[in-house]
């Protein structure tokens, strides 16, 4: 096949992969709409992507171990409902938030234990988790949202520091921390190893089960953290919230160049992937594209982006 792109751009794309896609989409959106490339709108985009990015950061680790977590959407609902119930009961936002995040860790441990030591495929374990956590959220709330307009938790979603929204600050901290964890620690190395070759890792003395368990616990806690941010933003906990979050997170991670086969992936890539999806959403909204059409367009763009990435990688090899 003849080269599709001029060689300079092609080289850039193959080196930076999805970053190139992000660049092209940003360029297209700013040409299509004047109000896109303004500071308030970009801050807005960053806030919109923060929740998905926090979840996807945890998902990245899980997918690098060749796993998957389908339960994140339900867990967002469960953790925020539990947190809100505690806040309503005690009046302490801090206690509610800590409990919410611990619930996330516990659910992650539940997922992780079955994956790591019972040897059940992650798809099945977390599919079960998806319905279990949603069910518990509905049971404990009686199916109705809990709304609350006072308390420190609101600032997690609505506050800002030096003009930067708190969700964005949390996202930045999570991304930097997770990047550090993945690239600079023994744990990060083990995560890559287990995903790259589980048996060789085991034969090198790595506790494969423990590594897998840990990534699910961490994923659960980050998902719950995203739940806390969402709860603050909506001033409420809703047992039906978060449906489809798992698909957004998986799409984000894949767009970021992480391999579903495991062993390959970066947190930076995931951040880029989150912005690709966020900018598409934002740009379509600015252009007042019909919501139903948006769904179709998003799916097509995700497919094209991954196809392009594959094509460039294969050519490089």
């Amino acid at each position: 096949m003849k080269m599709l792109l001029p060689s300079g751009l092609s080289k850039f794309m193959s080196r930076y992969g999805s970053f190139g896609v992000l660049f092209v989409i940003t360029l297209a959106m700013s040409l299509a709409n004047k109000s896109f490339l303004t500071v308030p709108n970009l801050v807005n985009v960053a806030r919109q992507v923060s929740i998905n990015t926090i979840i996807s950061a945890g998902m990245t680790f899980i997918i690098i171990t060749a796993g998957i977590d389908l339960s994140v959407g339900s867990l967002v609902a469960l953790s925020s409902c539990v947190a809100m119930i505690i806040i309503e009961a005690t009046g302490s936002s801090l206690l509610g938030i800590v409990t919410g995040i611990l619930i996330g860790g516990a659910a992650g441990a539940f997922n992780g234990a079955f994956v790591a030591w019972a040897g059940i495929p992650p798809f099945i374990v977390t599919l079960a988790g998806l319905t279990i956590y949603r069910g518990i959220a509905l049971i404990i709330t009686g199916g109705t949202p809990i709304i609350r307009f006072e308390g420190g938790f609101l600032s997690l979603g609505q506050g800002s520091l030096l003009g930067i929204p708190v969700p964005v600050i949390i996202m930045i901290i999570v991304v930097i921390f997770m990047h550090f964890l993945l690239t600079r620690t023994a744990f990060g190395t083990h995560v890559y190893s287990v995903g790259g070759n589980e048996e060789a890792s085991r034969l090198s003395g790595i506790k494969v089960g423990r590594v897998k368990f840990q990534v699910y616990v961490m994923g659960g806690m980050l998902t719950a953290l995203a739940g806390m941010v969402l709860m603050g933003r909506l001033s409420s906990a809703q047992p039906n919230t978060g449906e489809g979050f798992e698909l957004d997170a998986i799409a984000t991670v894949i767009l970021g160049g992480t391999s579903l086969m495991g062993g390959r992936g970066t947190i930076w890539g995931t951040l880029v992937g989150a912005f690709i999806i966020g900018i598409l959403n934002n740009g379509f909204n600015l252009m007042a594209v019909d919501a139903h059409f948006q769904l179709v367009a998003k799916g097509v763009i995700i497919l094209l982006a991954v196809l392009l990435d594959r094509y460039l990688k294969r050519k490089q090899a």
């Binding site: 620690t185 023994a186 890559y192 190893s193 890792s201 790595i206």
Partner: protein
């Protein structure tokens, strides 16, 4: 270009290849190795042609070419004197050639009858498959072959031999005129082998030509009409069965001159590092021992249980009943991590699946065993990590553009060195090398041998598993021979010869002593 000179290869090659399946001057190379080098021979209808050879002699490549799974670089395949091209397994099947591999290919949760007609259901009915009709059809086939198999049984519930018979029946019912069998008896019991051999006789009488690959020397005389010996990708002997005795055949199989390809240094052994029994014989069995500075070889045929034993020692497949002593202390090894912490390291037979973490850097692969040593509070000291990686890249002269390249881009020999390096980085004292030179070129082999010498000088002990007999004999200080999971003999370097090892390994030496020489050489 097909090489036409095949007159040097004994009686079969001088016969005009008119009826039957013949190959003429077939060559096939893979990166770093010439798997087949100008091989010619033919299989006649109604005869069993046995191909003998050590591992790596090219037998399996030959079989794959005849079954259409691989394409030769040069040479011709003739069917009844006419050239045929086998581009795909389907083409081979069309030509009446069926291959039965060591790993059977039945669908375990389908019935025997379904498996028999898999892909040919149209023979039974256009849309609806009547299971009654399916069974009847299957019964017809089994009756012709004189088999008593239940067509309704699930394939997965059958024993290995019965599964093999289903495969043979399938080949037969497709009116295969030539059936190629790769190590068909590898996992069969004595009775099952007898059953299989009986059916091979039936097939012969029905005019089917059979190519039979094996290195079970004890059994070939029972079925062979003709024998071809392969060595290093060449056919070195071809003749009527019985023309040569077993020792003469063995001599041709291994007859490679052992020169200074093997720069073995001998070091006075130091302290005892490891003692262990095999997991079959129990207390009475022969005890394995390894001292500092020693290379102890494990000889045996494929399937003799050498790798399995080594994996138990290392903790890869923990066996609570195995008695293991490390440096004189009784230990239990329940995981590779425990093996590692006891000072063991293993360079596995299957480098790609068990050794390398493909997609990760050379640095990552070398330091993966010592992440706990390299990190404080979980954070990796990257300077030290680079230093360690650089040290071993230098020490083992691993050739790579930089330590950050993907390990899978290196050559086989360099990959192997990186896998070894991770255990040296962990300061392992007991190094298990399972087929360390398989699939790597001569130069890299030599480097591996020199590395083994260096390790011995440092006081490490090496367990060497190799199916390359000259290598095993030359590089080991002592040898244990395994047969069916048991240590059947221990041989000193001076008393070990290829013939002797093969005798014990094929169970002959063992049977000699046990059954008063009924199957002697």
């Amino acid at each position: 270009m097909p090489a036409q000179d095949s007159s040097t290869h004994g009686p079969s090659a001088s016969e005009p290849p008119i009826s039957g399946l013949s190959v003429l001057g077939i060559s096939k190379g893979f990166p770093g190795v010439q798997a087949l080098d100008d091989v010619s021979f033919s299989i006649h209808r109604g005869e069993v042609h046995v191909i003998l050879g050590e591992n790596g002699a090219g037998k399996s490549t030959l079989l794959k070419i005849l079954s259409g799974a691989l394409q030769p670089d040069s040479g011709q395949i003739l069917l009844d004197g006419k050239e045929i091209h086998l581009k795909t397994p389907g083409a081979a099947s069309q030509a009446g050639i069926a291959a039965i591999y060591q790993e059977l290919s039945l669908v375990p949760w389908l019935s025997v009858a379904h498996n028999l007609f898999l892909g040919r259901e149209c023979l039974i009915g256009r849309f609806f498959m009547s299971s009654k009709r399916l069974s009847e059809k299957a019964d017809e086939v089994f009756t012709t072959l004189g088999l008593s198999l239940d067509p309704k049984a699930l394939a997965g519930d059958l024993g290995m031999a019965e599964q093999q018979l289903v495969e043979i029946s399938r080949a037969f019912s497709r009116s295969a005129r030539f059936i190629l069998m790769d190590e068909p008896t590898a996992s069969l019991t004595e009775t099952e082998i007898n059953l299989l051999f009986g059916k091979i006789e039936t097939l012969k009488k029905a005019g089917v030509g059979i190519l039979y690959i094996s290195h079970r020397l004890e059994e070939i005389f029972r079925i062979a009409d003709r024998i071809t010996v392969m060595r290093d990708g060449k056919s070195v002997y071809s003749g009527v069965a019985g023309a040569l005795s077993l020792p003469e055949l063995i001599a041709r199989m291994v007859g490679r001159p052992i020169g200074n390809h093997y720069p073995k240094e001998t070091i006075t052994p130091g302290e005892l590092l490891l003692e262990a029994k095999d997991s079959v014989s129990g207390e009475k069995g022969l005890a394995f021992s390894l001292r500092q500075g020693e290379v102890v070889g494990l000889a045996g045929l494929v399937g003799a249980g050498r790798t399995e034993w080594a994996r138990k020692i290392f903790g890869a497949d923990p066996d609570p009943h195995m008695r293991i002593k490390v440096s004189g202390t009784e230990v239990s090894v329940a995981s590779p991590r425990q093996g590692r912490d006891l000072g063991m390291g293993m360079v596995p037979e299957n480098r790609k699946e068990h050794g390398l973490i493909a997609g990760r850097s050379v640095l990552h692969n070398i330091t993966i065993t010592i992440m706990d040593w390299l990190s404080r509070l979980g954070i990796v000291d990257q300077k030290r990590q680079s230093a360690v990686s650089a040290e071993y890249i230098g020490k083992l002269s691993i050739k790579c553009p930089s330590d950050s390249v993907d390990i899978s881009t290196l050559s086989g020999g360099n990959q192997q060195k990186a896998v070894l390096a991770k255990w040296l980085a962990r300061e392992g004292k007991i190094i298990i090398l399972d087929e360390p030179t398989r699939g790597i070129d001569v130069g890299a082999k030599l480097e591996m041998y020199q590395q083994m010498n260096a390790l011995c000088r440092e006081g490490k002990g090496i367990i060497l598993i190799s199916s390359d007999l000259p290598e095993l004999l030359s590089m080991s200080d002592r040898l244990y021979v395994m047969h069916e999971g048991k240590f059947v003999a221990t041989l000193d370097k001076r008393e070990a010869s290829q013939e002797k090892v093969l005798e014990y390994a094929s169970g002959l030496g063992y049977k000699n002593t046990n059954r008063n020489g009924s199957v002697g050489l």
